[in-house]
Symmetry: C4
């Protein structure tokens, strides 16, 4: 019996499928919101030095902005990916959990980046975390496609491909830059707030 | 091809659309609940001084109440706004993420306000945070309307307009007051717990 | 125009209504889960004293169990209450937010109770928090019923009444006991894990 | 009147039933995401010792991976279990809350395990927590089946049985190992990331 035959079809298991999607969305929403916990203020700052103390956290605010963009972008990719799933089995669910485990690590990596933004170690920790997300996401997609669990929609497929490649390219390009100018590398990541897929798809159509 | 034509209609993409809404709701719910983490109690207070220690946190309780009202009010505005959306695209989703990034900052700004309530810095941090939410929300609405992504319902439109203007007015009015009497400015924000739109709409009808 | 006429009917606004319910559920779920953050372990305990250090937290575990039961029970009450709502307006949503603001306070009150379980102050903080929830919940129900926003189902009405009275009675009875034996009062609250309504309703039917 | 007759059928109470499931899913999603809070970095580490400081947290990362796998696996079990429920009553909801109370404890037990991984105390705390989840889950299932609240689907029943037994076996086997080599015991738990039920079910069919 092939994997596809024994997998559960989405159509007949809409409630179960939507629980998986809702669980993933919940994890994304919580992880993205926990980022704010990396921003704290000591309770014993002299009142006239508060402005300076907040300004001293500018690296943490930058890490917050980057990580919010990154998790938001991954959520969109995940979102688009699951919209093309038409059946699921234990392996897909397991891979999805491993994927989420690396998403949930981002607030930690982001804390390291915020506190030690100028160091090679912090950039490597962050880049490894995000690379793991991209690689496991790629494995999950490839595995599901090989197992026949996805629909074949050239447009969606192409948009997802553009998005994944875009994210991977941004992170790969940032690593060498990070060794020279870590803050610039961090600023580069902010472009992840913008979604190239619809724009590229549009120009491809026209 | 116009933006409206290439945007996804809500009707044919109800699941995808509801994931965006559910994600936003999740972020709001988590951000509002994380406010409680700004209230903590040291573990080494002499037992007969506990009452005093809790009383000393009255500024933190006030900040909690204000921020709960503020996030709750923004959630309602977001809620009403998305109920009039009929199509969505990458730009709307991106703007929504930026919007949420400033919502999630509120627990931090609220912590600053709670700890340093009497300082101009704390009030400016808080007011800037909330002003960013209102401005980005306004941009998001204006952009979606220009792109033809919203339905035209004069009543809802009018109620949303009243709500946004009401919130903006409360914050704008509070800034000069905050330079003179920060606590009074904070108390002003509590009026956000009450929703003027239905009342004003009602009197307009009658 | 009466309040009922201008309120939105649930039937024609199922998505909007379910967002309110989902938001409330999210807040309950986050608040109940944040309780675990009141349980922490220092990182510098000698390894052979770890058992003792955990045992020393027994008051915190008790507070955790009580508050989990309390929030779970309030969630059920809220759940039952909203299942009888047939229309909603701004006032109901506003009261619901105030209600949730006191639910979200429970992890703080629970921390105070866990750290200072034997003090009158801690018990009063906790009891005031819970009393506020019960009172505001009662106001919300009464207001909605007066406005004609609820369905009239004698069985549900009766079960909700039994549940609210049961919770109120448990807390009221615990306050005098808390002045004599705080731990016993805390143990009393554990009975909230059990739901008397179905049992009482059953015996009333038979 | 039998329990089954007075329980609410899922079919006629889909919204109420789905609120229970969504609440449980929310709690699982939050608990699994809070695990990241056990990973923190001091803010005063010399910049060239950051790599060492992160490496020193390897036990915490291991505890994170294990607990993510454990909560994810329990979520799946819970997920499968509730997919066979066809009616629910107060007792099922109450048992589900007790079950969730032990799920929410896992981030605490995981923190103890991460900080004190080599100690018998930490392993016992963790194993007791997980054993409580398995035992209460078993009680909940048995009670619901006895009350006639579940559907009879031999395949699902068998898969759930395999999953529960598999989890129980992994933890039971790890306890004696933990007294000799705690890290090995922890590594054993990682096998919970993989789901044997579909594989075993498949070989049973063929």
């Amino acid at each position: 019996m092939s994997r596809r035959q024994e997998a559960k079809a989405r159509d007949g298991n809409e409630i179960e499928f939507s629980r998986i999607v809702a669980f993933s969305d919940g994890v994304f929403a919580i992880a993205i919101t926990l980022l704010v916990l990396n921003l704290t203020i000591d309770t014993d700052i002299p009142r006239d030095e508060l402005g300076q103390a907040i300004w001293d956290q500018r690296e943490n605010f930058l890490a917050y902005a980057i990580s919010f963009a990154v998790i938001g972008r991954f959520w969109l990719v995940h979102h688009r990916y699951f919209s093309e799933i038409k059946a699921f089995d234990g392996r897909l669910i397991g891979l999805n959990l491993v994927y989420l485990a690396f998403i949930v690590l981002i607030p930690f990596s982001s804390q390291v980046l915020g506190e030690y933004g100028g160091t090679t170690t912090a950039v490597v920790v962050y880049a490894v975390n995000l690379a793991a997300v991209v690689v496991i996401g790629g494995l999950m997609v490839a595995d599901a496609r090989r197992g026949g669990l996805t629909t074949i929609d050239a447009q969606t497929h192409r948009e997802n491909g553009i998005r994944s490649a875009y994210i991977a390219a941004v992170f790969l390009a940032s690593i060498p830059i990070a060794f020279l100018a870590p803050t610039l590398a961090s600023l580069m990541w902010l472009v992840l707030f913008f979604d190239p897929a619809s724009r590229l798809a549009r120009s491809a159509v026209n």
